[in-house]
Symmetry: C2
């Protein structure tokens, strides 16, 4: 999937940047955290090969393809020479990165404080002596959790179960939900003989006919349970058997929001009503839980208002359905709150919140002790998480706090959104349905068509910016938490340039 | 689940060990690799608290329980003070470990060569700059794979797809199998409109009614697809929805093998015939693949002969079903071959081999290019593996090769098995159905009842040996690859002592 772009485009964007409409050194008046972490961070992209991909990249990619599926590769990366917001390819080209490993680099490349954690004695032990955490927990695991993952817990959450990826975090949350509902239905009774027998044949009642409800265009992972709740794209799901679980509509809002207030409220009401109808059309207890993203990310950066999520919480409470909020992509600060769902100000918190990606560690938060099944070894596997990732999560959380990176991202996002709003007026065919206002740097827009979108991504790469898409025709911004107004300016100049080539 | 055992038992086993029937310094005539790695490894267990669990362990476990489900905890572990074959608990007690984090510690605790890998610059970068490997593969990933995971590839395997855990390795292999069979059935045609539409609702034909067949008592993981193939224990499966996939019988062999040659051959024939009947009772193509362990580990260390696995390969070929060998627990040397299925000498290798645990890295090997789906982004997720684990796998592989640890484990296993055979004659009620001859240290036996087994595990811990069970009433040995005859002697003395308390 590597496509050739010429260097001419990059050369001219540098020319363009020097006559910048977006002032390159604006930092919003505060000291740059990026400059503190990365004194040698480039001031802009540098493309040094005649064309991108260059010769070293192509050779490395051919080599990799002989042993590993590399057909989704954007480019082969030199991580040692990547720095801060800039990612280096195999040929030494350096691109401003607003995609960040599909939204999973929290503090930029080669962050010195994460290096300190990665080279600590506790990290070395965690790697070499990887524990089966549920059977032989390490002496300091509670402390690592308390100073990191749990210190960052969303409002109302007091416990965590750790996992390895977003898919795995969601699936363990689903298991907790299914065991919770079965225990509630069973009451004080023990498992019946019929349950014990039928479950070994994957039949009811031991393997019950219960479901997780998800929303159209939602993305929750790629393993068999999570993929059954993923509704993003056919290509993600084709040919893989799936559980016949229900799906509900997710609002399709119109933009700009302030011009469609009544229409959007009606759309959300319609979706809530249809959701409740779907719930009511199934036997009580059949839907164990719903799972929903604060912003449907992979599915196209689809937003809904706080009112919609309040509605979901009310309906799930009414029907005794658990509510799982999937913060795998939205969590850890990018939306100007540590957890995106804090924007909702729910009085009654979700039952579980899942995380992964930028936190490096994965898992789900909860507080109801009934979400721990009745017996040990039911929510269980060999490793039950990975202390090496929990140590990184702790360092990430502490750096985020120390440097106010959530607030800073909110400020940068406000600036970026406002500038993009200006560009959207100027280039009305190029930036459609701009969204993410007041949501930090978690910003997206639509292009006229999938083709236009894909072309724009390539033009941006030619202009020295690594950027990703989502949905059918959307562009999503997913920079790290050390993306500042000065980086936003580099980005905005490249974008405006791209609209001219 | 922490149970109290008194120190008296441990004191007396030390006395017992000093009058050892099993000579403590036997190393099979070769230089000890354990001594090279671990000059300070204890010569035997040391229990220093009045009772186990001791006060620090209990306090640490209470603390942990307030934030993390610790009900399956054997004990809280001090990994910093664990060394080689000895695991230290929170109070400083040191136990010989023949369980090794549920069979996932390859070279002992705090191995110096793994420390070198864990503190290398490439490890620090892999941790801090974790790549989305399919989109932004790192420049040296092909090399890391080639010098590690792929250098260790089973016969006939040339490629790998990396994952994060055994469950995830198996599920990605299942996805490869489903996409392979769908592509074969579809031929040169593209996806139909009906497939594209139906798949978004989790319905056929887009979400097809196909299956993975597994075997009674098999264990393949705990996520939704893998759990649907797991048939070990009801408690692993209860209350979790499952795919209605078929299960076939696995031979129940009688021991000693040499006294039941004809009977066991007949049992395997019966299982193969029943397996083929199950296959024939479904439409062609319905069963995409089978998955089978070389030794059913979690399910009770159930063995079958090479002839049985040859039969499976023949029948799967005949019916165009893929064969996945799950080497998550059996792989990486413990059976006296790097991969357990090498014992079968198959001319026609399996289609996929999955791995995790002792390799730290996880994934599946394959060679048929059609096991890479037709388009990118189908076998895909954010990280697609973890270079930090691939770097460890490389170091593990190189140490195993350099020190002939597979051959050494075969030798130690032969010694250990022979001694256990002697004990089984002497203590006929205590060691039933001893198994694992010629399979390195991958040895198990049955106790009279689940209660006797559980008591024995506790007595062994009181005697300073950490040991695990499997199945209903089995004890399984899963020491690391630096478990040598001298360690076997410590173990044997403790075991014989435990039979007397």
């Amino acid at each position: 999937m590597l496509r050739n772009v010429t260097r001419a485009a990059a050369r001219s964007v540098r020319g363009h940047a020097s006559a910048a409409t977006h002032a390159p050194e604006t930092t919003g008046g505060s000291v740059s955290v990026a400059a503190k972490y990365y004194p040698n961070e480039p001031k802009g992209p540098s493309l040094i090969t005649e064309s991108v991909p260059g010769p070293k990249l192509l050779a490395a990619n051919d080599h990799l393809g002989s042993v590993f599926d590399n057909r989704a590769a954007y480019f082969v990366t030199d991580y040692y020479n990547s720095v801060g917001n800039y990612i280096a390819d195999a040929d030494g080209n350096k691109l401003l990165d607003v995609y960040c490993q599909i939204s999973s680099i929290p503090l930029g490349y080669n962050n010195p404080e994460l290096y300190a954690a990665a080279t600590s004695p506790e990290m070395a032990s965690a790697l070499v002596n990887r524990p089966a955490l549920a059977c032989f927990p390490q002496l300091d695991y509670a402390g690592i959790l308390e100073e990191g993952i749990l210190a960052a817990a969303p409002p109302g959450m007091t416990k965590v179960w750790t996992a390895l990826s977003g898919s795995c975090a969601n699936e363990t949350a689903y298991k907790a939900a299914f065991m919770y509902q079965a225990a509630k239905a069973r009451g004080a009774m023990d498992f019946t003989d019929e349950e014990l027998r039928s479950v070994m044949l994957n039949k009811a009642p031991g393997s019950p006919d219960r479901a997780i409800l998800s929303f159209e265009k939602g993305f929750h992972g790629r393993l068999f349970g999570s993929l059954s709740t993923t509704r993003s794209k056919a290509l993600h799901k084709l040919d893989i058997p799936a559980f016949d679980w229900p799906v509900a509509p997710f609002p399709e809002l119109k933009y700009p929001l302030k011009e469609h207030v009544r229409e959007n409220a009606a759309e959300e009401e319609r979706c809530l009503a249809e959701f409740e109808e779907i719930v009511a059309s199934h036997p009580p207890g059949y839907i164990a839980a719903i799972i929903v993203e604060p912003v449907q990310s992979e599915g196209g950066d689809n937003h809904a208002s706080a009112a919609f999520f309040h509605g979901l919480r009310q309906i799930t409470r009414k029907h005794e359905i658990l509510m799982i909020v999937d913060e795998v992509q939205t969590g850890v600060g990018a939306l100007g709150k540590f957890w995106a769902h804090e924007h909702w100000n729910l009085q009654d918190p979700p039952d579980m919140v899942t995380f992964s990606k930028k936190f490096q560690a994965a898992g789900f938060y909860f507080s109801d002790p009934n979400l721990q099944p009745s017996q040990p070894y039911r929510q269980f596997n060999t490793w039950c998480g990975d202390p090496s990732k929990a140590i990184l999560a702790k360092a990430i959380y502490q750096e985020v706090q120390k440097n106010n990176l959530v607030e800073r991202t909110a400020t940068t996002g406000d600036y970026l959104y406002k500038e993009l709003e200006g560009l959207a007026e100027k280039y009305q065919d190029n930036i459609l349905n701009l969204r993410g206002e007041n949501f930090g740097t978690f910003i997206a827009w639509d292009c006229e068509s999938p083709t236009h979108r894909n072309e724009l991504l390539l033009k941006m790469r030619a202009a020295g910016v690594n950027i990703g898409g989502c949905g059918e025709r959307s562009v999503r911004l997913r920079p790290s938490l050390v993306f500042e107004p000065s980086h936003a300016n580099v980005f905005l100049n490249a974008l405006e340039h791209a609209f001219h080539i």
